[in-house]
């Protein structure tokens, strides 16, 4: 299954279709707002554009190193992806305007931002597609202009690698997940730090509920860090925190390897998690979840 991107029904886990072509691990997937296109980046040193409905490959962009992150801007016209610092190649963020086919045809991005100090480990588009927000290996957060490529804002609130960045539904804020055992909430425009959610394990992914002040964190002890990884010691649980109080109010067990990715259903009534154990789990919330309130 290496290198294949799948689409599933969330109701029963039935597979709807695949995007076949990549020859290495796929690190990142994004779809544009009207789900016409899908963008994927892979360790096979390529970034590919697909027709969402038919699964046909529309474009193949070759790179020098693995593609770590990719994404469509708000309007779905500009794509960006970042490549790893690897095999003597630097870390770059490349920008292509899909409205200009020559850029794709010639594999000529209209802008390429080099990133020398600390490689990009996660990145998303900012609101309105004016900038991208990138998290780095050393824990820094940078906001790069999508027009000039200059650094608009730089903050360092994490002490270790930022594994994931996810925006809120309205894109006004985002949550970061870091190897330093915390997840943090930031304002998308100012990059001002708002909240911190602490755990005892590296956090690999964090997602914001679309309709509640809740955040879900997934992570766990890296397998290479412990000699005997019992699920108990690994703490491979999805953990729910209240956004304003920073207090944990629930945990969901089930994975027997670190959780690599979490996401809320757009309706906020279920969430899914993907783990190193090879499973994607979809959980529907019970009624108590919706009734639960902190005393305040």
């Amino acid at each position: 299954m290496l290198g294949i991107v799948n689409v599933w029904y969330s109701v029963n886990g039935e597979r709807l279709g695949t995007y076949m072509g990549h020859t290495g691990a796929v690190w990142c997937v994004d779809a544009d707002w009207d789900t016409k296109h899908v963008l994927t980046g892979s360790a096979d040193n390529s970034c590919r554009l697909w027709d969402c409905e038919t699964g046909k490959q529309l474009a193949l962009l070759k790179t020098n190193s693995a593609v770590r992150t990719c994404g469509f801007d708000f309007g779905g016209n500009i794509i960006m992806f970042s490549t790893d610092k690897q095999m003597g190649y630097q870390c770059f963020v490349s920008f292509f305007d899909l409205r200009d086919p020559s850029q794709i045809d010639n594999n000529e991005p209209y802008m390429k931002i080099p990133c020398n100090d600390s490689k990009i480990t996660s990145a998303v588009w900012g609101p309105l597609g004016e900038c991208i927000i990138a998290g780095h290996e050393g824990g820094e957060l940078n906001q790069y202009s999508a027009k000039s490529g200059e650094v608009l804002v730089n903050v360092k609130e994490h002490s270790r690698q930022i594994n994931d960045i996810q925006l809120s539904r309205d894109m006004t804020m985002f949550v970061t997940a870091s190897k330093d055992n915390t997840a943090k909430l930031f304002d998308s425009t100012t990059l001002e730090h708002q909240k911190t959610f602490r755990t005892e394990r590296p956090v690999n992914s964090a997602a914001l509920s679309p309709n509640y002040d809740h955040v879900v964190l997934g992570g766990g002890q890296e397998a290479m860090d412990v000699t005997t990884t019992s699920t108990r010691i690994g703490k491979f649980e999805a953990r729910f925190f209240h956004l304003a109080f920073e207090e944990e109010f629930g945990r969901v067990k089930g994975h027997f390897g670190p959780i690599n990715s979490v996401a809320f259903h757009p309706d906020g009534k279920s969430y899914s998690s993907g783990g190193e154990d090879g499973y994607v789990r979809i959980h529907y919330f019970d009624p108590q979840y919706f009734e639960f309130e902190f005393e305040a």
Binding site: D34, D170, I233, F240, A244
Partner: protein, 778 residues
């Protein structure tokens, strides 16, 4: 510390000692950071070390001949900085200056020709041998006149020529035990010997040996030998008769070193080492949250220790020990002992014993040093081959005596003189272990079987050396001595292999110390003993026995008539260590490390298990000095993840989980013994109801205050968050048009913004549902 009474204690001690052991692995030769290494003197060498440029070299060169100068400067630089070029052989003996400090020299501008190592003709060597290699010269072999092999023996019988031969024979027999006697001299006067003789040995070591062992030798009733080194006469003759009055030291007011006992809420303090040893904190223990008092980076290099009454906090450093105390934890005293690894306080807090493997030399014993804490002075040094059984010196409960066991010998020293009690060690052939009573100056020791002589446990009163009880034991494999904290009882755990049976049988021999002639009772145990511990201040003891996974705990009671009664046994326990509350009655049975940190909280007054809990992978359990709280912890020293300490009540109710990054060690600050009399304590216990009402009210108040505070805090957090969200949403609304524009006029702000465009599609699924309740935290 509790585990002093546990059988598993050595393991715990090893754990504690770990950081010290790590220290040992450091190369001994490496100079500690910040300390200037010794440097060879001489103006030339200094110049070369400080300046690399040609100018400095020119200055250094004394001659007028310009081309020759750099060579001269280089030559000296070579002597000062090894590594740049091969230095002359005798100079290589000089103390090594910081290597790499001076990479220049010949290598730098050389490369062309072989550098010249010979001195220029007019070079004057003004560096004396003493300056260059003083430390080596000190050890230079010296011409021996042989007098240090000579001993003087006094109190020898005075005899005429007729019996001289016989005397010589006797003397020879006694003294040739220590080495070959090469010469003897019996001074005579009026046809009789003078009563003292001179003997010369083949080597000074034999002479020293003779002095050590033959001094005080009783030849007969009238004659007890006094043996001294001949050189000592010389030494003590030259001591000045005049005595200088020591200068009066100004009094340093350290404030109230016991201020923490006056805390209104009677809270206790504890020290916490975390970030793998980089940071050390002192906290007030509080039911709600620990209150930080002091936090310092690199306060200690390995670990810390509290003094037995809690007055001082000792920190470990490469160069020695520092003691801290008072309200601000100011430094009170320092003890310089290079490479110190282990320490021990006397129970009275007057003396500190330090151990370092680095400093010992033949003629200057410095492996173990005993210090006076108040003055900071070194009282005495001792040799020590191995620190495996720390503490090497065991203190009597009042700090009046300390004792050490060596092969067939028990040496008891007294304070403050630090000299041997009665100037003589005890010869106890085969002594295996000894232990002071914590309740009086009594030593218990045991010796194993020797042919037909049975093994025996002896109780000896000190300083009289009177044996108050001897108990003979047969077929003994091993004995362990366990004193009850007040010294009321002694339990000797005896492992035996009785004839006719297979395997090892364990007996507990219980000595009732407070009764006449110290009666002994025996409890036979059928299973392997994992741990034993006396109830402090009580007459109960707990035993863990059996083989994993069938481990049981038994509680026994020593009744006043001497009968030992089994109160209760619980089977199927997950435990390997017993931790009694320092006040007795309550006990925590813990399955540390390999047993995953299982915990059982037991009240032994009625033998009920109050709670069963778990602190996963816990490595330590520490009761607070009052017995109100107990802490379990996962130390980074034994386990690398989930390092934390948890606070429980004595009943096993979990109060706090304190996660600390790379947490290493928590130690409660001990309290001095109570000043209340037995009657007063009884009265308090009687009036407990009265007090408990007040306390309960206090607790309720603080609880409602706490929950109010929490709600208040949440409220302000929510308000702030709402404010922020409002601002963000306003901005969001302002950008609505831009969003619409970017998505071709389609409003995607709400999920159901475009209901009109939706198409109905019916898909059938088979769904299996699994319900996982949310919010069931561990």
């Amino acid at each position: 510390m509790q585990d002093a009474e546990n059988v598993a204690a050595p393991e715990a001690a090893e754990q504690r000692a770990e950081p010290g052991q790590q220290q040992e692995q450091q190369p001994a030769a490496e100079p500690p950071p910040g300390e200037e290494p010794p440097r060879p003197g001489g103006p030339g060498a200094q110049e070369a070390a400080s300046g690399e440029d040609a100018a400095a070299e020119v200055e250094a060169g004394p001659g007028p001949d310009v081309p020759a100068e750099p060579a001269a400067g280089r030559e000296e630089a070579a002597g000062a900085a090894p590594g740049s070029s091969p230095p002359p052989p005798e100079e290589s003996l000089a103390p090594v200056p910081a290597a790499g400090e001076q990479p220049g020299g010949a290598a730098e501008d050389g490369g062309a020709d072989e550098p010249s190592f010979s001195d220029p003709e007019d070079f004057v060597d003004d560096v004396s041998e003493e300056e260059l290699l003083g430390d080596i010269l000190k050890d230079r072999p010296q011409e021996a006149d042989g007098i240090d092999s000579v001993i003087v023996v006094d109190n020898v019988p005075q005899v005429g020529p007729d019996r001289l031969e016989k005397l010589k024979n006797v003397i020879h027999k006694i003294f040739s035990k220590f080495g070959k006697i090469t010469n003897d001299f019996y001074p005579e006067e009026d046809g009789k010997t003078k009563g003292y003789i001179f003997l010369e040995y083949a080597s000074p070591a034999h002479a020293v040996d003779a002095v050590k062992n033959a001094d005080g030798y009783k030849l007969d009733k009238q004659h007890t030998f006094r043996v001294n080194l001949f050189t000592d006469f010389d030494k003590y003759m030259t001591i000045s008769d005049e005595w200088d009055i020591p200068e009066k030291q100004p009094f340093k007011d350290l404030g109230n070193l016991r201020y923490w006992l006056e805390e209104a809420e009677c809270r206790d303090q504890y020290s916490v080492i975390f970030e793998s040893g980089d940071r050390t904190s002192i906290f007030w223990n509080d039911v709600k949250d620990p209150v930080s008092i002091e936090e310092r980076a690199r306060w200690t290099e390995t670990y810390v220790r509290w003094s037995p009454k809690g007055t001082y906090l000792a920190t470990f450093h490469q160069r020695g020990i520092a003691l801290w105390g008072g309200e601000k934890f100011k430094q009170i005293q320092r003890f310089s002992h290079q490479g110190v690894q282990l320490i021990d306080f006397s129970p009275c807090e007057r003396y500190l014993v330090t151990f370092s493997p680095l400093m010992d030399t033949q003629d200057d014993p410095q492996a173990i040093i005993i210090w006076d804490i108040l003055t900071g002075q070194k009282k005495r040094g001792f040799h020590c081959e191995s620190s495996a059984h720390w503490p090497i010196f065991k203190w009597s409960h009042d700090g009046k005596f300390f004792a050490r066991m060596t092969l067939d010998t028990l040496s008891i020293y007294e304070t403050p003189s630090m000299g041997l009690l009665d100037k003589k060690s005890l010869k106890i052939s085969g002594i295996k272990d000894f232990s002071w009573s914590p309740g009086g100056n009594i030593i218990a020791f045991w010796v194993p079987e020797d042919k037909d002589i049975p093994a025996r446990v002896t109780l000896m009163q000190l300083p009289t050396r009177q044996e108050i009880r001897v108990r003979n034991l047969f077929n003994v494999v091993d004995c362990k001595l366990h004193w009850q904290k007040n010294g009321d009882y002694l339990c000797v755990k005896v492992d035996r292999t009785p004839k006719g049976t297979q395997g090892v049988v364990t007996n507990f021999e219980i000595f009732r110390m407070r009764e006449k002639q110290v009666p002994v009772d025996v409890v036979e145990m059928k299973e392997t003993i994992i741990a034993f511990a006396w109830e402090p201040n009580g007459s109960k003891f707990a035993v863990l026995h059996g083989e994993a996974p069938r481990i049981s705990v038994s509680f026994y009671h020593v009744k006043s008539n001497g009968k030992i009664e089994l109160i209760k046994m619980f089977d199927k326990q997950q435990a390997n260590t017993i931790f009694w509350s320092p006040q007795g009655q309550f006990v925590v049975l813990a399955g540390l490390r390999s047993m995953n940190g299982a915990l059982a909280f037991v009240d032994t007054s009625d033998c009920t298990v109050m709670n069963i809990a778990e602190h996963y992978m816990a490595s330590d359990v520490e009761w607070d000095p009052t017995g109100r709280y107990v802490v379990t912890s996962v130390s980074w020293w034994s386990h690398k993840v989930d390092n934390a300490y948890w606070l429980w009540t004595f009943q096993g109710r979990l109060l706090q989980k304190n996660n600390k990054d790379r947490f290493c060690q928590l130690l409660w600050r001990p309290r001095p013994p109570t000043l209340l009399s037995q009657e007063q304590i009884k009265q308090i216990k009687k009036d407990l109801k009265k007090y408990s009402k007040i306390f309960e009210q206090k607790d309720r108040l603080s609880q409602s205050k706490a929950s109010k505070e929490l709600v208040e805090r949440r409220r302000t957090m929510m308000e702030d968050f709402r404010k922020y969200r409002k601002m963000a949403q306003e901005l969001y609304m302002e950008q609505k048009n831009e969003r619409l524009e970017l998505r071709g006029g389609v409003d995607t702000d709400e999920l159901d913004s475009n209901v009109d465009d939706w198409e109905e599609e019916t898909i059938e699924f088979f769904v299996t549902e699994e319900i996982i309740p949310l919010g069931n935290q561990e």
